[in-house]
Symmetry: C2
Subunit: 139 residues, 2 copies
DNA sequence: ATGTAGTTTATAATAATTCTAAACTAGAAA
DNA sequence: TTTCTAGTTTAGAATTATTATAAACTACAT
């Protein structure tokens, strides 16, 4: 396994979330975060990408566990859709989406592209964690 | 089966969408639409409510078929969540939701409670079908 | 009254996810 | 370094939600 220059960074990152830096988790970190652009994925697509080479295989159960752990740790964001499959986003910054009803594809909308001039007060005892806009588009 | 005063209305409604007014569909219409307030449901909860009495049973397959048909016809709206289960809303008017991460419950936000002062242009060739805001809340 | 396309139904099949428990391993402590 | 243990990985089973299948039924046009 090629150890990237960012390897130590991921070890730190994982440790800071009480996640042991196992080789599986590091491999997944590199795949998800060693890139210029953020992207969307499902467990299915991630599993294929992680395991399409001849190097160390990562089990599907571990892919599930890791995605869940990374989401709880705040490394990933779960995307809201109406599909019965979970979609994730490596872009954890507050942003919004176009959801194409034809192709079922999601596209990012930078948060500065949407401005809200009125937002409701949350029910008492609750606070706002985040706010997402999904714009459904079609032909 | 008690025929409500609205029965004829539902027959019309169904016919106008090219859906035959079967007794199963009418029963489901009454349950969903014979009420003052709109509400959220899943196929599971709807199935329980429809079949918890001693009168005519409606099969689960028909519940699925009907919810799908009603959604296509625009009588129901599918709700965006991160759960791997479909949620529906009898409120088809443009509106938004609070999603409580603790209780996993959805609450309506009237569309007038949220105002957008800036919305992006859709990708060319596409038009905006609707826009939904989900505000995730927690303790 | 009859024919037929649309509908319902029980059940099987599929798809996504979660569970289980045994084997493995990172890292603390001896 | 060796040992110990809690955390992690894994294959496969189990579960959950949904979709498909095909036979029986029914609304309604003719």
């Amino acid at each position: 396994m090629i150890i990237s220059n960012n390897s130590k960074m991921y070890v730190q990152k994982l440790r800071s979330s009480n996640l042991r830096p196992t080789k599986q988790r590091l491999k997944i970190c590199q795949f998800l975060f060693d890139r210029k652009k953020t992207f969307h994925f499902t467990v299915e697509t991630l599993n294929k990408k992680i395991n399409n080479n001849r190097t160390m295989k990562v089990s599907l159960a571990t892919i599930y566990n890791t995605v869940e752990a990374f989401t709880s740790a705040g490394y990933l964001k779960e995307i809201l859709t109406s599909k019965n499959k979970s979609y994730y986003d490596t872009n954890i910054k507050s942003h919004h989406h176009f959801y194409d009803e034809g192709s079922k594809e999601l596209t990012d909308i930078h948060y500065s592209q949407i401005k809200l001039s009125k937002v409701p007060v949350p029910p008492k005892g609750k606070k706002i964690k985040n706010l997402e806009v999904v714009i459904r588009i079609q032909k």
